[in-house]
Symmetry: C2
Subunit: 188 residues, 2 copies
DNA sequence: AGCCACTATTGAACAGTGGTCAATTAATTT
DNA sequence: AAATTAATTGACCACTGTTCAATAGTGGCT
């Protein structure tokens, strides 16, 4: 009984919605194409008509989060607080983002999966570039390129470490603040 | 034709040797029990007689690396250089270890796999404790517990990031040194 | 030497994975 | 009404980790 009536045709969005729910709770590795299909009450083959493969589907899920991260950055930059405090908030904002969207973050900045990374392409780099430019400006060039890169890597370490335990950001808010303060001790 | 003659009985060490070669080149995820068995010219079932499951086998492979990391630390501590330089070398040594044994490091400090982490138990913590004590002593308590934790997490970020690309440590030696210097700017 | 318990190994089987594709049918175009 | 195209199915492939009944070599005991 192939092809359902047009009113109930499968769309990329429907697939992404089903995938998202599973993905947020279980992560890339532990969500299967068949589970998603089951959720949708379609055969798993149908998904492959709309997405080339698992990597493309989950990349689509994550793509928008690069924009989300950019937005978070922009919102902080527009605040009316002094630059030093802004820098602090940028660092904390990054960690909060990473730990609030752990499974997304994993794909954005941690995955080794070749196929997924083909889709990611330059997105992680672009995301970092935005972060770096912001910090460079806010510090009035007091932070060198090296410094900024070290800071980024250090934030990455924080997110990566605490993602191992299923911690929510709230549980490590204090730690995040302390980490940010440590990293900023080099300026000033 | 079960059970081979005693001269060619399978041992844990034989399995670990075969597994190690594959593991170092491909990582936990991409080495299968059947591949290991094929390498040994045994059926895959035989491995399960010697190891409870994949996690136990690969934990056995990684276990010794916690000691190796401790040793690296000790060797640096015994050097005849001033404490400040020792701290620097400890940080660099950690990054070098992580990037020289990337797939081991991944299991030691990065894996989310529940089964594997059951085997790891407190090993990563103990490893960190040793690191922290060393830094505390060398800095004559100038480095707070918080600082040391931030440093560790920051080193973790470095290893984790550069492990994504198949970089060897030599390729990022300069970066590692710069990262260490950045992290140590807060003291002094 | 014969028996027996034990030990190590096999390979079929299970339930799952990502992915492909011929067959089929609904929708659309001609 | 016929031909074409689009969307879906589900069997199939080649894998994965894991289990386990069946089997055969080993070593000890009588």
């Amino acid at each position: 009984m192939p092809r359902k009536s047009v009113q109930q045709e499968l769309t990329r969005d429907m697939i992404m919605d089903a995938a998202r729910t599973l993905f947020v709770n279980k992560g890339y590795q532990h969500v299967s194409m068949r589970q998603i299909a089951k959720e949708l009450e379609y055969s798993h083959g149908a998904i492959y008509y709309h997405f080339k493969n698992k990597a493309e589907l989950f990349y689509a899920l994550v793509e928008e989060h690069f924009k989300m991260l950019d937005q978070i950055l922009d919102e902080i930059l527009e605040k009316e607080i002094e630059p030093k405090e802004k820098i602090r908030e940028v660092l904390i904002g990054f960690m909060q983002f990473g730990l609030t969207h752990q499974n997304h973050y994993e794909i954005m900045f941690l995955t080794k999966d070749e196929e997924v990374r083909n889709f990611l392409s330059q997105s992680p780099n672009r995301s970092y570039e935005k972060f770096a430019r912001a910090l460079s400006l806010l510090s009035e060039r007091k932070l060198s390129i090296q410094d900024i890169w070290s800071i980024f890597i250090s934030l990455h370490g924080f997110v990566t470490h605490y993602s191992r335990h299923v911690t929510s950001y709230e549980d490590v808010q204090g730690m995040a603040a302390a980490h940010a303060d440590f990293l900023l001790r080099s300026i000033r």
